[in-house]
Symmetry: C2
Subunit: 206 residues, 2 copies
């Protein structure tokens, strides 16, 4: 069984615990020999068609069954949520989504811009704020210079809001900046296979 | 006595309790007849020169004497801080600066992007996130749709961090979005003359 999550920039594959990715702009790379069908979810229609032209594909999108009142939840967020019964899921990529699950029910969530987007935004406000973010700041200490003040302005608000949202619930981080953000929490987990776990759960229920 | 704060976009004037502004791109408008000198602070050199060509100007920049370890604090922030002995100053414009004063000492501060900058940033991340911000959201309830999820992602993190920073201290809001943000706090004050109060204090000490 090959699992594939298709995002805006990459195919993400998993096969027997191995994970790899391949850019969406060209033919996806299958690093394994297998005639297994590919179970996929996608937010990228042309990339999904390209995958279909190479392999038999089972689209899991129609089988997502998340208990939620949220309208317009992205497929990737919904599938990651299905992997967690109780907890907060933070997926930190070009956008940072934070979702809350309780007894298998999705209670809602919010979207923060990706950390690297902020640097651009500060630069566009004023040349004085055109500084590299300092990822070594601590959120317990008030900044004492401009570079730290903008870095704190990006990171501390997110950390405080995740904390406040979690109310003691387990927090699971995924995405490119997930490992970095997890460092601010004592009991945090990082799991880059969350979305595949959600897909496996859907397949089991099929 | 005329007070003038020169920012990136406007001259801000105060004379005997009246406040008005005038765009920096052209000759500043004096809405009163007065031969009084103008006490000014400026982050905008060409606009300061233009003011000097019309009136005698006393530049207060050299007389700012704020007790702080912060390196590179903007003149406008420093002067606003001088108006407050104890409290948190939130100046919400194209950038949102948050500064903490305690016993007349500046303890540090951070910089968050201006609220309207976020809308652009979300749009640049994905067309799905190209939505108008909903300023009517409540920060106590988890969002249930994309528009609320990005609005919450802008506002709740800032509110939580101001709260956490204040630790019960008085919070004073200024700037274009100051009135809006103050609504999230029970005991908040809005004071659009904060910087002029700081200037008056400097003048008194001269």
């Amino acid at each position: 069984m090959i699992l594939c999550e298709i995002g805006n920039t990459h195919y993400h594959f998993m096969h027997r615990g191995s994970i790899w990715r391949s850019p969406v702009g060209k033919k996806p790379e299958f690093k394994i020999e297998s005639d297994d069908p590919v179970y996929a979810i996608s937010v990228n229609d042309p990339a999904m068609r390209r995958l279909r032209s190479l392999k038999p594909v089972i689209n899991l999108a129609e089988h997502i069954d998340l208990d939620t009142n949220y309208r317009g939840l992205g497929i990737d967020r919904a599938v990651a949520c299905m992997a967690i019964e109780d907890g907060v899921i933070v997926d930190a990529g070009s956008a940072i989504t934070v979702d809350v699950m309780q007894n298998g029910v999705h209670l809602g969530g919010f979207i923060y811009p990706g950390l690297m987007k902020f640097q651009q935004m500060y630069g566009a406000i004023s040349p004085v704020l055109q500084k590299a973010l300092n990822f070594a700041i601590e959120v317990e200490h008030l900044p004492q210079n401009t570079g730290d003040a903008i870095s704190y302005g990006v990171i501390a608000p997110l950390i405080h809001t995740i904390e406040k949202t979690a109310r003691g619930k387990r927090i699971v981080f995924a995405g490119g900046d997930g490992g970095y953000l997890a460092r601010f929490f004592e009991d945090a987990m990082v799991d880059q296979t969350l979305i595949f776990k959600g897909m496996e759960k859907i397949i089991k229920e099929l």
